[in-house]
């Protein structure tokens, strides 16, 4: 990251100003931070790049001349990185390279928050989240032999030396040991006499940026993390980089899942998902981008686990609830619906067993061996709401489509709508129920408007807006309110943020929800 930052300019291009011309060899990597940039073939606009997108990355990396010229379509702020530095990083770091390649392929453009990784988030994230293991330390009067044994036992390259109050006073590293061997220092010498000092410390509540600056300014590999002067952890420059790249780890894990050979290996990978979510949340990634990543990974786990079964006709496994609509909660729980012919009844337990052993938390499992309509009529309202999110994952797709057809007309039935009305009948708004109130209502509205495709709430709202079903302002405000609540919920649950919602934001959310309720009432026909 320092490589990148040490070659960075932040440039504001006024509307109409040229960023580069065509047939030019560009020496920079242009990252749009704000505004909008147009790519021109002579005077024809052939493409645009907006916030968080990179302009002509493949051209700049492959060192060919530009086909197009680029001009700012509005006042735009561009982060410009020196291309030779970007290349250096790509050569050194394969993960980062993989990450950039994905980026260039265009698939993940909108997800990228490279700028946030180098900017505000590293100022705001605390050192405490980077500490990933308890510190290995020894007391200053222990012998060199004891300390070496301790290092071997814990498989570490250095230990922090502390005084009786566990305050760090020095560090013993491999090079200190080598030096003492050279000087033929006896192994009974106290560690205090061979250690390096002082050890550089950082408070656990300081920011990652501060830690980073310390690593740079002292040219060291380890920092002792202290709370009230007492040692609480050690971080290495590697930990820091690992965390700064937590997003690229998402890519690695999904690759590993696909390559995993047995259930055990798969399980080891999938139990890391919750900690990956925590990391991503701590780094300030938005709820939609985390959910996109989580869905990609978890779907891969599910498919891999189920791949040991032959897909057969007459049986389908369907995802329902939050995860069905590609959203998630912590801890991640997967609700399922299995639809099938009577003859499959006996084999269902095999599927559930495999899924439970894949390391994922399986929640509710509904079984439907009946006629779909009959089955749906037998369900309580709350279960029906969950099933509206049904999404196919494995088995007989035709069977799933038949089921979905039966489901499609359900929200138009009067008995069902009457129950939806009860959700919106209450004049008070309870904070905890807002997320459900929004996602359920929007989902039902989707069905009413003839869109039974399973989608995340924010995508559905976007569809409403583009089809003119909901006013742009309300759709935007509601999306913002929903994502804010989801994000806050997530950060509270992952312990990355303690404080509750700001009072002003809360008031604003309530206002938006009131408006949304009116909209729903209008739709349900008793405005």
């Amino acid at each position: 990251m320092s490589e990148l930052l040490s070659g960075m300019d932040v440039v504001l291009y006024k509307k109409g100003k040229a960023i580069f011309e065509s047939n030019e060899r560009i020496k920079k990597f242009y990252f749009v931070r704000e505004g909008k940039v147009g790519l021109f073939d002579d005077s024809d606009l052939v493409g645009t790049a907006e916030k968080d997108e990179i302009i002509e990355a493949s051209t700049s990396l492959s060192k060919i001349t530009t086909e197009h010229s680029a001009r700012a379509l509005e006042d735009s702020i561009i982060f410009e990185f020196d291309i030779t530095r970007v290349e250096k990083i790509l050569q050194k770091n394969l993960l980062f390279k993989e990450f950039i390649e994905k980026l260039i392929s265009g698939k993940l453009l909108s997800l990228l928050k490279l700028a946030d990784m180098s900017e505000s988030s590293i100022y705001e994230k605390r050192v405490s989240i980077v500490i990933n293991k308890s510190p290995v330390f020894c007391f200053k009067d222990q012998t060199l032999r004891e300390t070496i044994e301790l290092m071997n036992r814990n498989d570490v390259g250095s230990v922090i030396v502390v005084d009786p109050e566990v305050r760090p006073i020095g560090i013993l590293t491999h090079s200190d040991i080598l030096r003492s061997i050279e000087k033929e220092t006896p192994l009974t010498t106290s560690v205090e006499r061979v250690m390096s000092r002082p050890v550089i410390t950082i408070e656990s509540e300081e920011s990652i940026m501060d830690a980073y600056l310390k690593f740079l300014s002292h040219g060291i590999n380890h920092l002792a993390v202290v709370d009230n002067e007492k040692l609480v952890g050690v971080i290495s420059i590697k930990d820091l980089i690992y965390n700064l790249e937590s997003r690229s780890h998402f890519f690695k894990i999904s690759k590993d899942i696909i390559r995993s050979k047995d259930l055990e290996e798969l399980k080891n990978l999938s139990i890391r998902i919750n900690s990956l979510i925590k990391n991503a949340s701590a780094y300030g990634f938005s709820y939609p981008s985390i959910s996109y990543l989580v869905t990609t990974i978890v779907d891969a786990v599910l498919r891999k686990a189920l791949s040991r079964f032959e897909p057969c006709s007459g049986m389908a496994i369907v995802l329902t609830g939050d995860y069905g609509k590609r959203e998630f909660d912590i801890p991640l729980t997967i609700d399922l619906l299995i639809i099938g012919d009577e003859k499959f009844k006996g084999t269902i337990s095999n599927y559930i067993e495999i899924l439970s052993n894949s390391g994922l938390q399986i929640g509710n499992v509904q079984l439907c061996f009946d006629d779909p309509c009959k089955f749906l009529n037998s369900l309580p309202f709350s279960k029906l709401l969950e099933i509206l999110d049904a999404r196919f994952i494995f088995g007989d797709r035709i069977m799933y489509i038949k089921f979905k057809n039966a489901l499609k007309d359900l929200p138009k039935q009067n008995t069902f709508l009457a129950k939806v009305k009860t959700l919106f009948g209450d004049s008070t708004i309870e904070y905890r129920g807002i997320v459900q109130l929004i996602s359920n209502g929007i989902k039902v509205a989707g069905y009413i408007y003839g869109d039974p495709v399973s989608r995340p709430t924010w995508e559905r709202l976007k569809v409403f807006e583009s089809r003119g079903i909901m006013k742009k302002e309300l759709a935007e405000d509601l999306t913002e309110a929903y994502l804010t609540l989801r994000t806050v919920e997530l950060s509270i649950k992952t312990d990355t943020k303690k404080e509750l919602l700001d009072r002003i934001i809360y008031k604003k959310i309530i206002k938006v929800v009131m408006e949304y309720k009116l909209w729903m009432k209008d739709l349900l026909g008793w405005g």
Partner: protein, 197 residues
């Protein structure tokens, strides 16, 4: 103004008293017109002559850090080189300049005379922009208001480099607005003399 050389400055000090307190860290980010040369920025901790316990609370800089830091004298030439011939920009920057002058004076090399530098304060510029937009100027513009107005992420962290970076991002947008209003540096100077702020 589009090709004017600026230097965004931020200092962390042991306190607010120019005579008594000392500089403990400095960050300078050069700018040319609307370009922030973050890659050419300079950041250093500075070893004070005596240690002031209470600054740890504000800046999170501990004694151990400062022990290994260079003294003001050691980096003076570098600082001077980066500020010379550039217009200094910052938030309440007059305060930072006063500290620099005082520290230079203590070096007893007549350097302080050289610190008669031109400066711009982003708070004052904001006042001018508001005035142009027909909004009466309030003297109570704080850093977080500016962050909010210009939609810049981040909070003032009491780290000289991050604060200077944020100030540069604010100034960049202000400068863009000034260019739109066709306000020149001379206008700014005149406004200051007329004590409009």
């Amino acid at each position: 103004m589009e090709s004017t050389e600026f230097a965004v400055l931020d200092l962390e000090t042991t306190g607010l008293d120019v005579k008594m307190d000392e500089i403990i860290s400095i960050a300078i980010i050069p700018m040319t017109g609307l370009q922030i040369h973050f890659g050419k920025s300079f950041y250093s901790l500075i070893k004070p002559k005596k240690f002031h316990e209470r600054t740890i609370k504000i800046h999170g800089i501990c004694r151990g850090d400062l022990d290994q830091a260079p003294t003001f004298e050691m980096i003076f030439e570098k600082i001077f080189g980066m500020l010379n011939n550039r217009i200094i920009v910052g938030f309440n920057v007059i305060f930072d300049i006063a500290f620099l002058k005082e520290s230079a004076k203590k070096l007893q090399k007549n350097h302080h005379k050289k610190f008669e530098l031109k400066y711009l304060d982003i708070k004052e510029i904001e006042g001018l922009i508001l005035l142009r937009a027909g909004i009466p100027v309030t003297p109570f513009i704080d850093f977080s208001d500016l962050l909010h107005k210009y939609q810049i992420e981040g909070t003032s962290r009491h780290n000289a480099l991050s604060d200077a970076y944020i100030a540069a991002r604010i100034f960049q947008k202000q400068l863009n607005a000034l260019l739109e209003f066709k306000i020149t540096l001379d206008d700014l100077e005149m406004m200051r003399r007329m004590q409009i702020f």
